[in-house]
Every structure is written in C-alpha cells, then in structure tokens.
C-alpha cells in the first residue's frame, strides 16, 4: 500500500477528519476535497486548525478520526517520507549544514533519481537563483531562502505542494512580489498547491479556491470573489473585510428580493444573497454618506444618510454573533 502511495495522483480528499489533543479539538469533523491542479488556500486566524490540517496532509500528524485519500489511495497512516507530498515550511527549515545545491538535491538523492545535477539546475533557474548553488542557507536573505525552500520542494514534482505561511517572514514589498511569483510558478509547473495562511490578502491574491476555517471547521468555501461579495456567516464577513452589519427583520417579499426593515428603513436585498433562516437578519450596507459638513467623524447617536447598492449587500442569520471574526482580524496595516 505504501508502495503505491508514492506514485498516487489525483484530488486530495479529506473525509470527516478530527484531530484531538486531550480535550482540545484542533480539527473538528472536517470534510474537504482539493481538486488536482488547483491553488487552494486554507485561511483562518491563529488556532483555527489550518496548520494542523496541513500537518495531517503532510503526514506529520495522524488524524484521531477520519481518512485522507490522494486520488484512489488511502494515505491516512502513510509515513511522511512515503507520500508524494512536499512542504514549504514556515521558517523554511533549510538544512544549515548543506549547500543550497545539496538542500535542493536532498529529496532527489533519497529517491535515487539519476540526473540530480540537471534537475537541481533547472529548478534553480526557475527561482532565478542559479548563482547561489554553492552557498550555505545562512548566507542567503529571507526572500532567497524562501525561494530555495520552494525549489527544494517542487524539484520533486510532488502530487501536492503544501505551503505553511510561506511568506510570513518577508517584508511587505517582497511578499507582494512573491505572491505573484508563487502564482506564476504554480501555473508553470501545474502542481496542486495547498496554501495555509492567516493573511486574507495573500489568500485572495493567489488562490483559486479559499476555505475559511474557524475553530476546527470550515466556515465557507468558494472563490475569493464569492467569499468577499457574498459571505454566509458573520465570521467570514468580518474576517475578510470589516463589514457594517445592521440588525433588522424581514418584513416582506418582492419577487427575487426580500424586503428588510432596518430600524424603520425599508431596503430590498436579492434573495440569493440572503442567508437568513428566519425573520431576523443582519444586513450589510456598504455605502455610507457623511453628514453635511463632511469633515467631522461620526459619533454615537449621530444621524447619517445611508445608501446602498443591492448587488453589494448581503443578509446573514439574525442569531449570529455580529462581532465573530472581527476580534481575530489581523491588523491589515501592521506592516505599513
């Protein structure tokens, strides 16, 4: 079985995965399919279970319950070194005693690949660092180490490439540049990338599909645009961008739209953008208009003019915690 695992290809399927540490459920009954060839992001705040999920895919942790399949092959208990899966670690985890060349050649040599030189040089050219082959990792900058970590993984052409917060240690400018490069490399080599991050912007820029995780479960999964425009839960709405959620009730029905009553103001919302299950809702109205003077900031109790475009609004269940996700929203501007 393990012999087959190393050549397994196909979609990655997690079926009802749970991982417990004592009483703590890091991942809670998670089911997920990651299509072959996609750039998939697991997005969520610290402690949401995304890194644990990644480690289970890599084989560094074993699920308490559930199974992991790669295509037809069950890899739930396969050892990491027998999986056709490679990881770009958060701190890169380059081997400090080996040259850059030998770092990249490590996986090839273990698998007994013949033409190590050609493979390593090819991937060094891909990450545009062929001149660093003879150096040691400590002699490289953070951005260069990041590329070598990527090269060391993709040189093995794994069925799946896992990226654990790969850009977390880079400064903003370099991070932006690497986001574009990673996306480009993924298209170039055509591998399945699974990217774990807490940075919404990073996930939005690179991924085809994003799964937003919270407390060990997937809150919502979809394309970046879907998630941003039409979140289904307050957590997603707040985590992906500050939302202005206003409490109201559904008071009527108008063909494809619902009529909602927000503190006496009637608004209409497309039905397909309403995730309410009863009469009580939170509506998101994205355009505010300042009062006449246009300078003084709002104070509590001020009267404001509200306008909105129905296609940018959405309605959530009224029993949700309106602040969910906002407290864990990382400071987007921390690097600026």
């Amino acid at each position: 079985m393990s012999f087959d695992a190393s050549t397994a290809r196909g979609d990655l399927i997690l079926t009802r995965i749970t991982k417990e540490y004592g009483d703590f459920k890091a991942v809670d009954d998670l089911t997920l399919t990651i299509p072959k060839g996609s750039f998939f992001a697991l997005l969520g705040p610290y402690g949401c279970g995304k890194t644990t999920t990644l480690r289970m895919i890599a084989g560094l942790e074993e699920p308490t319950v559930g199974s992991i399949h790669l295509g037809e092959t069950d890899i739930t208990t396969t050892k990491p070194y027998q999986r056709p899966i490679n990881t770009v670690f958060q701190n890169y985890a380059l081997f400090p005693h080996l040259t850059i060349f030998e770092n990249i050649a490590f996986g090839l040599r273990r698998r007994g690949i013949k033409d190590v030189d050609a493979e390593v040089n090819k991937v060094l050219n891909l990450v545009e660092l062929p001149h660093l082959a003879g150096r040691k990792p400590t002699q490289l900058s953070g951005g260069q180490q990041q590329r070598i970590a990527l090269a060391r993984a993709i040189v093995n052409r794994p069925a799946l490439l896992l990226l654990d917060e790969p850009l977390g240690a880079l400064d903003l400018k370099l991070r932006r540049q690497m986001q574009i490069e990673l996306k480009w490399i993924q298209k170039e080599v055509g591998l399945t990338f699974v990217h774990v991050t807490h940075d919404q912007e990073e996930a939005m820029t690179m991924a085809d599909t994003i799964a937003v995780m919270n407390e060990g479960q997937i809150e919502q999964m979809g394309s970046p645009a879907d998630l941003y425009d039409n979140p289904e839960t307050a957590f997603v709405a707040n985590f992906l961008g500050q939302s202005n959620l206003i409490k109201g009730t559904i008071s009527g029905n108008d063909g494809d739209s619902i009529i909602a009553d927000l503190y006496g103001q009637k608004i209409s919302l497309p039905k397909k953008r309403s995730h309410a299950v009863d009469n009580s809702i939170y509506a998101e109205l994205i355009v505010f208009e300042q009062n006449d003077d246009g300078v003084a900031p709002f104070n509590k109790g001020d009267a404001v003019n509200i306008s909105w475009n129905p296609i940018f609004t959405f309605a959530l269940r009224g029993d949700e915690d309106v602040t969910a996700g906002s407290e864990v929203n990382p400071e987007v501007l921390d690097e600026e």
């Binding site: 890599a58 084989g59 560094l60 050892k79 990491p80 070194y81 027998q82 899966i85 490679n86 990881t87 670690f89 958060q90 701190n91 985890a93 380059l94 081997f95 400090p96 005693h97 490590f106 996986g107 273990r110 698998r111 400590t138 060391r152 993984a153 093995n156």
Partner: protein, 282 residues
C-alpha cells in the same frame, strides 16, 4: 589612552596567574626532564645535563602503559558517546519542561567527590556488591571470575566519571537543532535512519567533537580509576608518572613522560579535529 589600556589591565591578573602557575611550572618541568642523578648523590638529587635520552628511555620502558592509556581512553570515550547520545537526544527533544531538571541529574554526581564515587564503584563491582553475585547466578560470568582489579572495571569507572563531559556538549549541540529540519528531512523522502545519518548527526557534530575531546583528553591522563579499580596489570601512564614522582622520586623520567603524554595527546587531537572536519561544522 586610558580607554585603550583598560582591556590590558583587566587581562593582567589572568596573565600573571597563568604565567606563575602554568608557564613557569612547564618550563621547570622541561628543565627537569633532561636532568641526570648526581653521581654519588642522595635519592632525588639531580643535576642539569640536557640528557634527551631520558625521553627515549622513559618511553621504551613504559610503552605498554602508554598504549594501554590510549586504548582505555578510546574505549571509555566510545562507550560514553554511545550512552550519552541517546541521553542528550532524549533530554533535548523529549525533555519538555523537565529539561533543566534532567540536566541537573546529569551533573548531580559532581556534587560528590570524584574519589568517593570511584571508591563506590569498587564496592559495587566487589564480591560483596550485588553485581557479581547476580551475574554469577544467571551464568554470565563464571563463579571464579571477579570484576574488581580488571581492565573492565577501570574502563567502566572512566566511562562513568567522564560521562557528563560527553553529555553536556552533546546536549548543547542537539538542543540547537531546529526540529523542523528533521520534519523537512522526513518530508523529503528520508526515513528515520537516513534522517539521523544525513541531518541529525551532521548537525550535532560540534557536540560530538567537543564531547569526545573533553572525555578522551582527561581519560588518557587519568590515574585515579586505574589506581582504585585496577591492578598492576592495568596501570596507565598516569599511574607511572604518579609513582615516579611521589614514590621513586625519579623526577626526570616523570617529567619526560609528562611531556611525551602531552605531545601524544596533542598530535592525536590535531589529527582528529582535521579528520572531523571543522569546516563542515556550522
């Protein structure tokens, strides 16, 4: 100017100390090593003659003890390494919050005197200890075999006494290894054994080199273990030097042997460090 002088002033006490208690005695020892007995003089009376033949005489006479010293020290070093590596690895990677406590346990024997602990080994391995009767009962050693006054006891004593010198540098080195590099190795198709051979061991080489040197050098010059746990047949070069100095009062031979021992250790250590490849060390 005052600023420039300060470091030298701070170095002065150390320099004076080393000059008085290291450089002067070494020069004195060098001088003594080429002396010859005064014709018709008393025991212990020597005159300066620059007789370098002393070195050759002393070496030829004590070849056996020299080679025994190095063989015993080598075996003790290898045993200490074999015991210490798993120990240091376990403390570094599995010690968790007990790391410091476990390290204190490693050093704990030092709270008792070196001599006392060696004498304790004599009791443990003696006829009245529990080891010999147990081994005889289960038939590992014959009823007539004893463990004290054997080379086995001497090497065991040396291994035990120098164990912390091996464990501590190994621990320091292994503890610095980022466990994620080991995960990365597994991720890159290396099984546990290959990961040890290709990542863990190379990254812990500074500790292996430091630990083996800190064990081998004092073990090669040791005489306490051989004196307490050994017999005349297990005499090491340290025992010879000791008896030449304090019992036979043959200062020139003792001094010549001391220098030969120093030179031999220096040559072996140099070859070893060359071989272990310091440039490969991180």
């Amino acid at each position: 100017m005052g600023k420039i002088r300060t470091p030298y002033l701070l170095l002065l006490p150390g320099f004076l100390f080393l000059f008085t208690f290291f450089i002067l005695p070494i020069l004195n020892l060098a001088q003594t090593s080429t002396q010859t007995p005064i014709a018709g003089g008393d025991t212990g009376q020597y005159e300066q003659t620059l007789r370098f033949q002393n070195y050759i005489d002393a070496f030829i006479e004590n070849r056996e003890q020299f080679s025994r010293s190095f063989v015993y020290a080598l075996i003790a070093t290898v045993l200490a390494l074999a015991i210490s590596y798993p120990l240091a690895y376990a403390i570094a990677f599995k010690g968790g919050k007990f790391k410091n406590f476990l390290l204190v346990l490693v050093v704990a024997p030092f709270f008792t005197s070196f001599l006392l602990r060696t004498v304790a080994w004599k009791q443990i391995l003696g006829e009245e200890g529990f080891v010999v009767p147990t081994l005889r009962t289960i038939g590992i050693i014959s009823p007539s075999t004893t463990l004290t006054s054997t080379s086995f006891a001497v090497v065991m004593g040396m291994t035990y006494n120098f164990l912390p010198f091996m464990t501590l540098p190994l621990y320091a080195s292994i503890d610095r290894i980022d466990p994620r590099t080991l995960e990365a190795s597994g991720d890159l198709y290396a099984n546990a054994f290959t990961t040890f051979r290709k990542v863990t061991l190379p990254l812990s080489m500074p500790g292996v080199v430091a630990g083996t040197l800190l064990t081998f050098i004092p073990a090669a010059g040791d005489y306490v273990n051989a004196a307490i746990l050994g017999s005349p047949n297990t005499k090491m070069i340290g025992n010879v030097i000791e008896s030449r100095y304090f019992k036979i009062v043959d200062y020139p031979t003792a001094a010549a042997l001391s220098f030969t021992l120093m030179a031999a250790i220096l040559i072996l250590v140099t070859l070893y460090i060359r071989k272990a490849g310091t440039e490969e060390l991180v």
